[in-house]
């Protein structure tokens, strides 16, 4: 239906087209990951989106909005490549050696994406450093008041992109851990990303200016990260309290999650 309502050439010409693409992409990639098949939307649509925002950022290099949109387009492109690689692996359409090579290339792309963000989107003048003197609760496992990740508007979006990146890294590293010769190092890195994602969630939860809907959007990131926190009593209790908060907003937390063919119990 999507490819008949919109062509790649006219998709990005109207707000409705751009909205539908952003909206549809969320499900296209999600379903591809879950179903282990390639994303349904042809690459021409993603290429159209990327070239549209690249052109806009070139025409208006001071525009924060277009820089954010360009960043979004880049990570969506990487996510599609991930979905395709995992689908090929799960269908035995790629050799183990080629999978390891392409997985490593994608890891590098993800790291470059993170380090290559437009400096405008990390402008320290917008960094939130004043949390009113608040301190973490005794049972917090992360410090939601530690400066460094939360930016005020107009670049508030950066914390969301950062949170998403940690979540993507967790899933990506997990896909390759079974083929690695140094599983302990990879699991250690996954745990680092998990703590970072949880810190992002807790910071957003405690900041009084977090826009409506953000915490609902961030629930998936938290659920992914929570699986990989070390299993001690303190972490368990913090996870359960945070899940109760999620449920109070209407999110149903399953007591177990199947990740990479392993059942993980929260």
């Amino acid at each position: 239906m999507f490819t008949t309502v919109f062509s790649p050439s006219d998709l990005m010409q109207t707000p409705v087209g751009r909205i539908c693409l952003s909206w549809y992409l969320r499900y296209d990639t999600y379903v591809a990951f879950l179903g282990s098949f390639p994303p349904g939307l042809p690459d021409e649509y993603i290429d159209s989106m990327i070239s549209h925002y690249r052109k806009k950022t070139t025409e208006d290099p001071q525009s924060v909005e277009y820089a954010v949109a360009d960043r979004f387009a880049t990570v969506r492109s990487i996510s599609r490549s991930q979905a395709l690689l995992y689908a090929r692996r799960n269908r035995d359409q790629i050799s183990l050696e080629d999978f390891k090579k392409e997985h490593a290339l994608l890891t590098e792309r993800l790291r470059e994406y993170r380090s290559g963000w437009n400096p405008m989107l990390r402008d320290p003048k917008y960094l939130v450093t004043d949390f009113g003197g608040k301190q973490p609760d005794p049972d917090d496992v992360v410090n939601p008041y530690e400066p460094g990740i939360l930016y005020d508007f107009p670049i508030f979006n950066t914390i969301l992109a950062s949170s998403e990146w940690h979540s993507i890294m967790i899933m990506h590293l997990l896909q390759g851990v079974g083929y690695s010769s140094d599983r302990d190092a990879i699991y250690a890195e996954i745990v680092e990303h998990a703590y970072a994602a949880c810190r992002h969630y807790a910071t957003l939860q405690r900041w009084p200016h977090t826009p409506k809907g953000v915490m609902i959007q961030q629930q998936a990131v938290f659920q992914t990260a929570a699986i990989f926190l070390p299993r001690d009593d303190r972490n368990r209790m913090w996870i359960r309290k945070t899940q109760a908060y999620c449920e109070s907003m209407g999110y149903v937390c399953s007591c177990y999650t199947v990740v990479n063919n392993h059942v993980c119990v929260c």
Partner: protein, 173 residues
């Protein structure tokens, strides 16, 4: 609150007038990587109308007249205006005015209207300690019924696509 009465909404559905097919048929791939969704609409005999902005005129200040809608629809749409953002849809980078355009588009399509109202009713219900699930299920059920009817009998257009996505916004949480 029970299901909504089975009468059509008073919202006027603007028929699409565009007859030009500007749809896109992706090149067919021979390998087995094709997903089930690769089949084009024409292969199963369904007529899909390309998006034409003229079919969905937007109110210049984003505040169209909703007085012709039932009071409960107006109430939920007003709640939508006040409380729902693009973040509720999982979209972090909204530079298009996502949450303004969706309810305006909904006024042109009854299935989308019920899906949007259902979404607003759902979110307001879960935030209400005394909320009842049937408060939003009525709109959701009506939207799904109308969508099924559209899929079986009529041409698809962008509003059909958006109805599917809007219903998915409730389903995939």
């Amino acid at each position: 609150m029970g299901l909504l009465p089975d009468t059509p909404s008073t919202a006027q559905v603007v028929p699409t007038t565009s007859g030009q097919n500007r749809g896109y048929s992706p090149p067919q791939e021979e390998d087995s990587r094709s997903s089930p969704s690769d089949s084009t609409a024409t292969s199963i005999g369904i007529n899909v109308m390309p998006y034409d902005p003229a079919d969905f005129p937007m109110h210049p200040d984003g505040k169209p007249d909703r007085s012709h809608l039932p009071p409960d629809y107006q109430r939920h749409l007003a709640w939508f205006d006040e409380n729902i953002t693009s973040f509720h849809y999982g979209i972090s980078n909204d530079i298009e005015g996502f949450e303004k355009i969706i309810p305006q588009m909904a006024l042109h399509n009854e299935a989308l209207l019920n899906a949007v109202v259902g979404f607003a009713a759902y979110l307001s219900t879960v935030q209400n300690p005394n909320g009842k699930v049937q408060d939003f299920l009525g709109y959701y059920n009506k939207s799904v019924s109308l969508l099924i009817s559209l899929l079986q009998n009529e041409k698809y257009n962008v509003a059909t696509l958006m109805t599917v996505l809007q219903i998915a916004a409730i389903e995939v949480r």
